[in-house]
Amino acid sequence: MNIIIVGCGRVGYTLVEQLSMEKHNITVIDEDEDRISSITEELDAMGIVGNGVDYKTLLEAGIERTDLLIAVTDNDEQNLLCCVMAKRIDNCKTIARVKNPVYNSEIGFIRRELGLSMIINPELIAASEIARIFQFPDTIRVDTFTRGRIELLHLTIEEDSFLDGYRVSDIRRKLKCEVLVCMVARKDEVFIPSHDFVLRHGDRICIAALPEVASAFFAKIGIQSSRAHYTMIVGGGTIGYYLARRLLDVGVHVKIIEKDRQRCDELASLLPDATVINADGSDEKRLISEGLDAVDGFAALTGVDEENVILSLFAGKLSGGITVTKIDKLKYSVVLEGMSLDNVIFPSLLTADYITKYARTMNQSTESDVENLFRLENGKVSAIEFFVREHSDITDTPISKLKLKKDMLICSITRDGAVIIPDGNDEIRPGDAVLIITVRSRFSDITDIVER
């Protein structure tokens, strides 16, 4: 695949590193000549010095032959404009990095109207990852879909578990939780469970849920999910904001320590439920007076990697809770291995992983209606996201009335930015994005879900 990457900062560099290992042809565009020369010296990619929005530069990078353009400069507007340009010249798939929370609230609209394939928000991805660390024990693995708005939780049913012997259809009715068991792996077999499927211990199941519902669900089935209840976040940047929002949504106490007075005021008005403290995170006495020894979740998210490391070590020693350390410089990963930090987050690496995963599945999704395609359980199961463009015999009818194919399941419907975990009464409407879980590999159109 021919890929153009605009912007080679940390995310760009990691992307080139990962994608070039997967035999893609990569061209990077950046305005900084030094960055271009260092990237072309160290990695097998072609570099072009210029602005990614510039028509001539894009042509020079071979936009006509490009399958995917990824814009990951620091500037949201430039990224979006660059993707629009690429889309208009070549009609290739485009991915833009957009970090501004203001844009993020309308991200689905922006993406669709500008014709982008994906918008990634490194700060949001990092925040979700941290929230997950705070919420779920290591035994539960989480995949995110529809750009982080739905989570697929993988867990194994223990012998004395609440779910042992439970019927799938009862979960939603009895627990009053909007969750959906969308896949069961029993020994080597994989099932897409029907209504009367009975779960047994030893099963590995996959549950679709909204992030805020997930922890409630775990509480009801008796798994201690929310590990942290009193959290402290040092550094009130964009990641800190997103993280606080996520934690507050699930009822976790949040205290944010931020140096900058003005930013504190902003955060306080954006997050009325959080306690925002205007203090320097490196002020040890202040942290203790704010109850550092009582927190069970601590995230060090300042802009200085070294400070984050020291803070986490200090907090870990004092409180014994879960600590998360954000590190921007990937080169530190080797050095940090030897230190006793329990969770280290590299936002650029997470973002690059996310995009690489998308690029990997891009080869397989040929139809334009397929928005996304992921493989689960070693490729035995596919999660396919369709965009429903027009009215057809499957739309505007309650799902229970549709003669759906076996071995497939409608996992979620995204409508106007809101995610619905559907039951039989919901219906598919034009403009929806529908996530389908199936063990078949050949699904090219949304209308394929019904028996003919």
């Binding site: 070039s20 020369s37 072309t40 010296e41 160290e42 097998d44 072609m46 020079e60």
Partner: protein
């Protein structure tokens, strides 16, 4: 320097050389020269075994950095010469090893300077090998190897950088391997076209193959004592045209293939290169018109000689040493110009000359407007300070090395014209010089010591100075 990695790379190069030796071997079989066949089999075996041993030196996980890349390229080229000279010695046709080494290095570096007074006495297989080394060395051994093997992953670029001519080495395609492959495909395509053209013009297979190798590699080894003088006018024109094509930056051909004609016409270097050829040919033609019967004949000889010298091939149709002083001086100056960057030709390179001329113009303008802010552009792109700095350094080293070499070989007590033109000719990978090393003479007049100096000059010229010089920096060999 990580010597294991360097040895590993040299090992690969030697094994490839063994494969290359199969071609003269086949020639030997066709012409029934069985003694030569044995010599090539022995040499190939020596290469294979040495290569195998060297390849075992690599420790897993060792990386190839720029320093190793430069050293590996320089040492590999030396190794290619050292082992490539074996067949000449074993067959006994060039019994002196230094002479054989000179001949091989001259071939690989596409110089085409010979120590042989009677080329026609050589066996067909040796003649073939001599010409074939031009073709191997023309586009570069590493470019060839990298097109086939994923030798060192992304770090392979460090090898290509060290081997490819030109002030800044870019890629045509995102991957090193693809770039190398496309470059060689174009080189191969042009060579095939040259062979076909020569076959149609009436040459036999052996002649057209060997002459095509010498032409496309811009080498200059002939298979007759008269170089290209014995061929028909049409054949000479074919050779001259293909030499000119061989000296063009291969990026131009890539732009033609990918139909980017707009970018093609913005290639300043190629424009100036062709311009220099046209102007020099015209001036020389007028200058030598009285020596030949028709103006057409004068034009043909003038064009052939200009193309041959500027592309640093070094073929000759006539003894240009007997031409008037103006023509000779133009040719001598053309030796310094050389072909385009990214071509198979040697020399200083037109693009470097352009950068220097433009920087001189900028300097002059800064005298008039002391606070002038101005960037130098080449092919529509700003020239980076890095390229600018390395071009200046290159020019300085280039001049110093030429002067130093002239000083060293002057111990042989030959005349100044011979010494100077020989060094310039060897250094720029051309072939013939003037006076005692003119087109009708050979380099046999030099002592073994001078030959070694010239061997170094040829290698330094082909590899663009720095890879060879890096070997003399002590810290290059240290581990830290």
């Amino acid at each position: 320097m990580n010597i294991g990695v360097v040895a590993y790379i040299i090992g690969w190069v030697l094994q490839f050389e063994a494969i290359f030796m199969a071609f003269p071997l086949i020639t030997g079989l066709i012409y029934g020269e069985y003694d030569c066949c044995t010599a090539y089999i022995i040499s190939a075996c020596v290469c294979l075994v040495t290569g195998y041993i060297l390849k075992r030196f690599r420790k897993p996980g060792a990386d190839l950095f720029l320093r190793e890349g430069f050293a590996a390229v320089a040492l590999s080229w030396i190794a290619l010469g050292v082992f490539g000279a074996l067949p000449f010695v074993i067959t006994g046709e060039i019994p002196n090893y230094i002479d054989a080494l000179f001949e091989t290095v001259s071939g690989l570096t596409t110089t085409g300077a010979s120590i042989l007074n009677d080329v026609e006495a050589l066996s067909k297989s040796n003649l073939f090998w001599r010409s074939f080394t031009h073709w191997i060395g023309g586009m570069g051994v590493f470019v060839f190897i990298l097109a086939i093997l994923p030798l060192m992953g992304a770090h392979s670029m460090n090898l290509m950088k060290a081997e490819s001519p030109g002030p800044s080495v870019g890629k045509l395609l995102p991957k090193v391997k693809d770039t190398a492959f496309v470059t060689y495909a174009m080189y191969f395509g042009l060579t095939v076209a040259c062979v076909i053209a020569l076959l149609i013009s009436g040459m036999d297979w052996f002649e057209s193959l060997t002459m095509s190798f010498g032409t496309m590699g811009t080498g200059g080894y002939g298979i007759y004592n008269s170089s290209a003088g014995g061929f028909s006018a049409a054949q000479q024109i074919i050779l001259a045209v293909f030499m000119t094509l061989g000296g063009v930056n291969y990026t131009a051909y890539f732009l033609i293939i990918t139909k980017k004609f707009k970018d093609l016409f913005s290639l300043e270097e190629v424009k100036y290169y062709l311009g220099i050829i046209i102007v020099s040919t015209t001036v020389i033609m007028i200058n030598i018109a009285h020596l030949y019967k028709t103006l057409g004949e004068a034009l043909r000889h003038a064009y052939f000689q200009v193309a041959s010298i500027i592309t640093t091939a070094g073929f000759s149709t006539v003894d240009f040493d007997t031409w008037p002083q103006l023509s000779k001086t133009i040719l001598l100056l053309l030796m310094f110009v050389g072909a385009c960057a990214g071509s198979t030709g040697g020399g200083f390179k037109v693009s470097r000359l352009l950068i220097l001329v433009k920087s001189v113009r900028k300097e002059l303008r800064t005298i008039i407007h002391p606070r002038l802010s101005k960037k130098i552009y080449l092919d529509g792109h700003p020239v980076s300070d890095e390229t600018f700095r390395s071009t200046n350094a290159y020019a300085a080293v280039y001049i110093l090395l030429i002067l130093g070499s002239v000083l060293l070989i002057s111990v042989d007590n030959l005349d100044f014209t011979t010494n100077f033109s020989s060094v310039v000719s060897a250094f720029n990978n051309i072939g013939p010089g003037f006076a005692m090393t003119g087109p009708t003479h050979s380099f046999a007049c030099f002592s073994p010591f001078s030959k070694i100096v010239l061997i170094f000059d040829m290698l330094a010229g082909r590899l663009e100075l720095f890879p060879m010089l890096v070997l003399f920096v002590p810290s290059c060999w240290r581990k830290y």
